[in-house]
Amino acid sequence: MKTYTNPVFSYVRPAELDAPGARRPVVVVGAGPVGLAAAIDLGQRGIPTVVLDDDQTVSVGSRAICYAKRALEILDRLGCGQQVVDKGIGWNVGKVFCRDELVYRFDLLPEPGHRRPAFVNLQQYWFEEYLVNRVREFDDVDLRWENKVVGVVPHADRVDVRVATPEGEYTLACDWLIAADGSRSPVRQMLGLEWEGQMFRDRFLIADIHMKTDFPTERWFWFDPPFHPNQSALLHRQADDVWRVDFQLGWDANPDEERKPERILPRLRAMLGDKADFEIEWASVYTFQCRRMQRFRHGRVIFAGDAAHVVSPFGARGANSGIQDTDNLIWKLDLVLKGRAPDQLLDTYDVERTRAADENILNSTRSTDFITPKSRVSRTFRDAVLSLAKKHAFARRLVNSGRLSVPAILVDSPLNTPDRDPDFACGSGTMIPGAPAADAPVAGPAGDWLLGYLGGDFTLLGFDAAVGPFGVAVEPVDVASLARDRIPCKVVQVGGNPTAGATMIRDVQGLAVRRYDARPGTVYLLRPDQHVCARWRAFDLPSVRAAIARATCNH
């Protein structure tokens, strides 16, 4: 590749080859985006962690390229968001063509007052490289390359992991094993666990090309384009003048033939014209499936990312959902490891994330049925929609070239405290229990964005423009005591008179108040992963403590 040289991470002889090692709290299998995100979160919480990867470099080829706002916000909490955004390419506009006509255009319409954009595109190898660099900042996280898991033996009180290295095998015992080892998950296979779903009978050619061009930074998707009749095609920009090209090939295509440059070049020439000056950086032929494991937690082995669930790439719901998996998991694991929550809390990871996986699979399956119709009548309706879409607005809403990743809203989670006060906004996009916290520009001691003050631990967010939400009670309440609880909760106050123990911030554009439907005295309780778990119009300490107990299965 011209624009990127894969780093080679050197193998280091593990101490366990010479003498049995101590049992580890957590072992993560797989140093892809999901495993690395898990490792950073564990590192930030001071949990000694071993990460095992059978390779010695980051992703070969660009693979996952679209990172959504919620994933970027999680990366901010993990300390890598800025690098990804700085290197990545922001985009908002998508266009869908049928033959050579534009039939549908969408604009992700960035609403001002959020730190992160709707999407950035970045090659997976850059993404992983940044996360590897971040992992290396933690002395407690031991990232082991060329350490391949060859056996997993679960016990009631631990998991034994058999690891092969270039110098022999060793066994590592751990309290918890996180399997983030990808869609072919060797751990899943070693444990003989099934996953259910469907495979789609279609093949796609994916290629990265390096090309200087004045094409707009937009997602372009074609149905039946003149340069690739009867199939679909996609063009998407990445960093360093690398472009992602995706051609639907049909089920009968020969993957070995289609991978050859002499087959790829004419396709690209037809698409980009004879004058286009480009070089192929990487190409692959793939099929895809929509599947998930029935359960993501199996005792002390917990699956995350593609190992637990896979979708088609249309919609960017792979890596984005995997990063939400670990965001959901690690704080729970931390509390369980510290003995501050029962291990049933980990079952809620399963409940919350299998539901999110179902939503992703549903959306992805629908997109796939539109892009690759499975029957003649399905194809007829697809073509009817595309034909109507040129003239009629209603049909444009039916055109489905991928419904882009949106954050999971944990609506029915058992960890939520249902609203007691009936007057909170609860429509789409509001801060109902289960919703991820909305961002807003603020001023305060730790930066200019509200999300920077939330998460990591539980956070109580109080609003008041006049008297301070924690000062309205007749008896003064010591909110600072929340920080000293067994499960600590930090306190952030928006406006009002300073309250002892609260971090004071100002709502500089009034957007925090609007987005949280806040009045003087309104308080929100946020989980460590920045999801709302309770909210009240007036503050009282026992309710907050009860909600924290509920959100940690301590009731």
Binding site: R376, D383, A384, S387, L388, A395
Partner: protein
């Protein structure tokens, strides 16, 4: 919830039926299928009510072997 109207509602049923058949004159089977699909989509959008549409799908599938998901509506 609105109910699918299956009582007579077309002011001139014979005129409508003649037009429906005439619409397909000279079309191949594939073209006819496409035209029918477009007609279904246009009418579905005009109706808009998901409950009525589900009832119509169920009524249309009544007596067929494969009812798909429509009967669940």
């Amino acid at each position: 919830m609105a109910t699918l109207n299956t009582e007579p509602n077309l002011p001139a049923p014979d005129d409508f039926y003649e037009r429906l058949i005439a619409m397909h004159r000279g079309l191949s089977d594939d073209e006819s299928a496409l035209v029918n699909a477009k007609l279904v989509l246009l009418l579905a959008n005009h109706i808009g009510d998901a409950g009525v549409l589900a009832q119509a799908m169920a009524a249309a599938c009544n007596g067929m072997d494969a009812t798909g998901d429509a009967g669940a509506g």
